[in-house]
C-alpha cells in the first residue's frame, strides 16, 4: 500500500495545517456531549452529524460531479426500510442491514438514475425529484411494508450489537461521529485520487471530459452509487435512533431538499462544506421547533427557505469566504 503515504497535491504545508485542524476539531467533537449535556442538545447534535454525513454523501454526486440530485430522501428511506424490515422479517442484525440497505439503494439507483445521466442541469434535478416522489408514493401504498402507517421496530435490550439505546442518546452521537469521520476520510481520499479529478472534470465540461478518455456515464454512475450507498446507511442510523419509520416522515420532499441544501450552503464540492452547513441549518430548524412549539410550526422551514434564497448572494457557499486571497493573507498574518 505505497499509495497510502500523504499525497501532497498543492503544497505540503496545507496538508499539515489541515490535518492539525482536523485533529483539533475531532477532539472537540468527542468532548462536545459533555459540554452540552441536555437531552435535547444531544438530539440536535445527532441530527447535525447525521445531516453532515448525508450532506457529504450528496456532495459526491451533487457537489463534486455537479449533478444536482433532488431525490435522495428516497434512498435514505430505502436504507431505513431495508434494515428495519430485514430485522423484523428475518432477524438480520441492523449492522448488516445497514450494508444491505446500501447495496439495495445502489441497485435501485442504478436502474432508475442511469437513464437520467443523459440529462443536464435542471432537467436532471427535476427528473430525480420526480423519481423521489414516485418512490415515496410507492412506499405509502405498499401494504407489505406497512403502507402509510409505517413500521415500528421491536424494542430490544440496549447494546451496540442490537444498535438500540434507550437510557441515553450518547452512543448514537458517537456512532454518527464515527460515520462522519469515515466519510470524511473517504472524501479526502477521493478528492486526491483519479476518481476525484474525473468527477470534477465532468462537472466542468462533459465534452472535455469525454475527449480526455473519461467514460462520463460510468463515472456518474460510480459517483451516484457511492452517494446513495452512504445515504442509505444514514437511513439505518435514523431508523435505529427513532425506532419508528414511515414514508411521510422519512421521505418527504423537504428531506431531499435539506440533503442538498446542507452542502450547498456550506460550499458544494468542498470537503468542509457539509460540516459548515449542517450545524447552521439543523440548529436553526430544531431550536425554532423547540422554542415556538406547535404554534411556531412553519418557522423552521421558513428559515430553510430564506437560506436557500440567500445562497444566490454567495453561490460558492460559506467555504468560499475562506478561499479568497484576503482570508489567506489574514491567515498567514495570524500564523506569524
Amino acid at each position: 500500500m505505497g499509495r497510502l503515504k500523504p499525497l501532497m497535491v498543492r503544497q505540503p504545508r496545507i496538508f499539515w495545517r489541515k490535518n492539525y485542524i482536523f485533529a483539533l476539531a475531532f477532539a472537540l467533537l468527542l468532548a462536545l456531549p459533555f459540554i452540552f449535556t441536555a437531552h435535547f442538545q444531544h438530539h440536535v447534535m445527532i441530527k447535525v452529524l447525521m445531516f453532515t454525513f448525508l450532506g457529504c454523501a450528496w456532495n459526491i454526486i451533487g457537489g463534486y460531479t455537479g449533478q444536482v440530485a433532488l431525490g435522495h430522501a428516497a434512498f435514505f428511506g430505502i436504507g431505513a426500510y431495508t434494515s428495519s424490515l430485514c430485522y423484523i422479517w428475518f432477524g438480520l442484525n441492523p449492522w448488516f442491514g445497514m450494508f444491505l440497505g446500501g447495496i439495495l439503494a445502489v441497485a435501485v439507483s442504478a436502474v432508475i438514475n442511469y437513464p437520467c445521466f443523459r440529462l443536464h442541469g435542471r432537467y436532471f434535478a427535476i427528473a430525480t425529484l420526480a423519481l423521489g416522489m414516485i418512490i415515496r408514493l410507492l412506499f405509502t401504498n405498499w401494504r407489505l411494508v406497512g403502507g402509510a402507517l409505517g413500521v415500528r421496530l421491536p424494542l430490544l435490550p440496549e447494546s451496540l450489537w442490537n444498535f438500540q439505546f434507550h437510557t441515553t442518546k450518547l452512543p448514537y452521537y458517537y456512532i454518527a461521529l464515527v460515520l462522519c469521520a469515515l466519510i470524511f476520510a473517504i472524501l479526502y481520499k477521493i478528492e486526491r485520487s483519479k476518481l476525484g479529478f474525473y468527477l470534477r472534470a465532468i462537472k466542468e465540461s462533459e465534452e472535455a471530459a469525454r475527449s480526455l478518455g473519461i467514460d462520463v456515464a460510468k463515472y456518474k454512475l460510480v459517483a451516484m452509487s457511492i452517494s446513495v450507498f452512504f445515504t442509505a446507511m444514514a437511513g439505518t442510523l435514523y431508523a435505529q435512533y427513532i425506532l419508528y419509520i414511515d414514508p411521510i416522515s422519512l421521505m418527504p420532499l423537504m428531506t431531499s431538499i435539506l440533503i442538498c441544501v446542507v452542502p450547498v450552503l456550506g460550499g458544494a464540492g468542498t470537503l468542509w462544506g457539509p460540516a459548515l452547513g449542517a450545524p447552521i441549518l439543523l440548529i436553526a430548524i430544531e431550536y425554532s421547533r423547540a422554542w415556538l412549539g406547535g404554534g411556531g410550526r412553519g418557522i423552521d422551514y421558513m428559515i430553510v427557505g430564506a437560506i436557500m434564497v440567500a445562497i444566490i448572494f454567495r453561490p460558492g457557499g460559506l467555504t468560499s469566504f475562506f478561499q479568497g486571497p484576503r482570508f489567506r493573507q489574514w491567515w498567514r498574518r495570524i500564523r506569524g
Binding site: V68, I112, P115, C116, R118, L119, H120, G121, R122, Y123, A125, I126, A127, L129, A130, L131, M133, I134, L137, L138, T140, N141, L253, M254, I257, C260, V261, V264, G296, R297, G298, I299, D300, Y301, M302, V304, G305, A306, I307, M308, V309, I311, I312, F313, P315
Partner: protein
C-alpha cells in the same frame, strides 16, 4: 362501463385545463427568463387563500374576487420580481433553481405559520356545488359546474394570454426577448421590463387558477406542491417555453391522472404522472413544442 369511462375522461379534461393554466404561467416565465419558477405552486396557494379570505372576511364571492385577486397577484409578482427575481436571474442556474424553490418553501411555511395547516373549504358560493347532466353516446354523465367554470376560465385565460403574446406588439417583444435577450435589447426592447411583465403575468395566471379552484377545492398551505409538480410535468411534455405546448401538456396530464387512476390503482395515479414525466424527459428533453432552450 363506457359511461363511467366518459365520466373519467371529462373529469381528466376539466382538471387538465386547470393544470394547463398553472403550466402556462410556468412556461411563460421559463421561456422569457430562462428560470424555473418552482415557487409557482405556492403563489397558487396564495391566490387561493386570497380568494378564501375575501369570501370569509368581506363576503366577496370568488367570482367577483377574481377581479381583485388577479391584479393583486400581478402586483405581488411585480414586487417579488423587483426584490428577488432580478437577482435570481443573474445567479448560476442551479443556485437559481434552489432559490425559487426556497422562495416557495418560505411562502408555504409562512402560510403555515399564519393560517395553520388546517384544510379549509368555502361553503356557500354563487356557483355552489351545482351539477349539470349531459348525455354523451347515449349514457348520462355529470359535470360539476364549479369545475367546469374553473376549466373554462382557465382555457379563456390561456387563450387571452396566447392572443396577447402572438398578436400584440408587447407580446411580440416578449417573444423576441425569449428568443435572444441580447438581440432583443439591441432592437430597442426594454428586456428588463419584459422580464418583469413575464413574471407578473405568470403569477397572475395562478391567481386566476387559484381563485377558480376555491369554488370547489380544499385550501391548505401545502396545496401548491402537487400543482407545481404537475405543471412542471405538463411543461416538460409540451416543451419548455411553449404556451400551446403547456396547454396540451396540461390536458394530457389531466387525462393520465384520471384515466390512470380509473384503470390502475387510484392511489398511484400521481406516481404514474411522474413516471410519464421521467420517460418523456429522458427520451425527449426539449418536449414536443419548445421555443427556446
Amino acid at each position: 362501463m363506457s359511461e363511467l369511462f366518459i365520466q373519467v375522461v371529462i373529469e381528466g379534461l376539466l382538471w387538465g385545463a386547470i393544470y394547463a393554466l398553472v403550466a402556462v404561467g410556468l412556461s411563460l416565465i421559463w421561456g422569457v427568463m430562462g428560470i424555473l419558477n418552482l415557487a409557482h405552486g405556492d403563489f397558487l396557494m396564495l391566490g387561493m387563500f386570497g380568494a378564501y379570505w375575501l369570501a370569509i372576511l368581506l363576503g366577496i364571492d370568488p367570482l367577483i374576487g377574481l377581479l381583485i385577486v388577479t391584479p393583486a397577484m400581478f402586483i405581488l409578482g411585480l414586487g417579488i420580481y423587483k426584490s428577488l427575481i432580478t437577482r435570481i436571474v443573474k445567479a448560476p442556474r442551479l443556485t437559481a433553481l434552489l432559490a425559487t424553490f426556497g422562495l416557495g418553501i418560505f411562502l408555504r411555511n409562512l402560510a403555515h405559520f399564519l393560517w395553520r395547516a388546517d384544510y379549509r373549504m368555502l361553503g356557500d358560493t354563487l356557483v355552489g356545488d351545482r351539477v349539470i347532466t349531459v348525455s354523451i353516446l347515449g349514457g348520462t354523465n355529470f359535470i360539476s359546474v364549479p369545475k367546469l367554470l374553473a376549466a373554462g376560465g382557465s382555457l379563456a385565460a390561456t387563450a387571452l394570454l396566447y392572443w396577447f403574446i402572438k398578436r400584440t406588439k408587447t407580446g411580440r417583444a416578449l417573444q423576441a426577448t425569449a428568443m435572444n435577450r441580447q438581440s432583443a435589447a439591441l432592437m430597442g426592447i426594454d428586456t428588463e421590463r419584459m422580464y418583469m411583465l413575464a413574471y407578473s403575468l405568470g403569477i397572475a395566471c395562478v391567481g386566476v387558477a387559484g381563485t377558480l379552484l376555491t369554488n370547489f377545492f380544499i385550501i391548505f398551505p401545502e396545496v401548491g406542491i402537487m400543482f407545481v409538480l404537475f405543471a412542471l410535468v405538463a411543461v416538460t411534455i409540451g416543451g419548455f417555453g411553449s404556451i400551446h405546448g403547456a396547454l396540451i401538456g396540461g390536458l394530457i396530464i389531466g387525462l393520465i391522472e384520471s384515466v390512470g387512476g380509473f384503470v390502475g390503482i387510484p392511489a398511484l395515479k400521481q406516481a404514474l404522472v411522474f413516471a410519464v414525466f421521467v420517460i418523456v424527459v429522458v427520451l425527449r428533453p426539449r418536449g414536443l413544442f419548445g421555443w427556446a432552450d
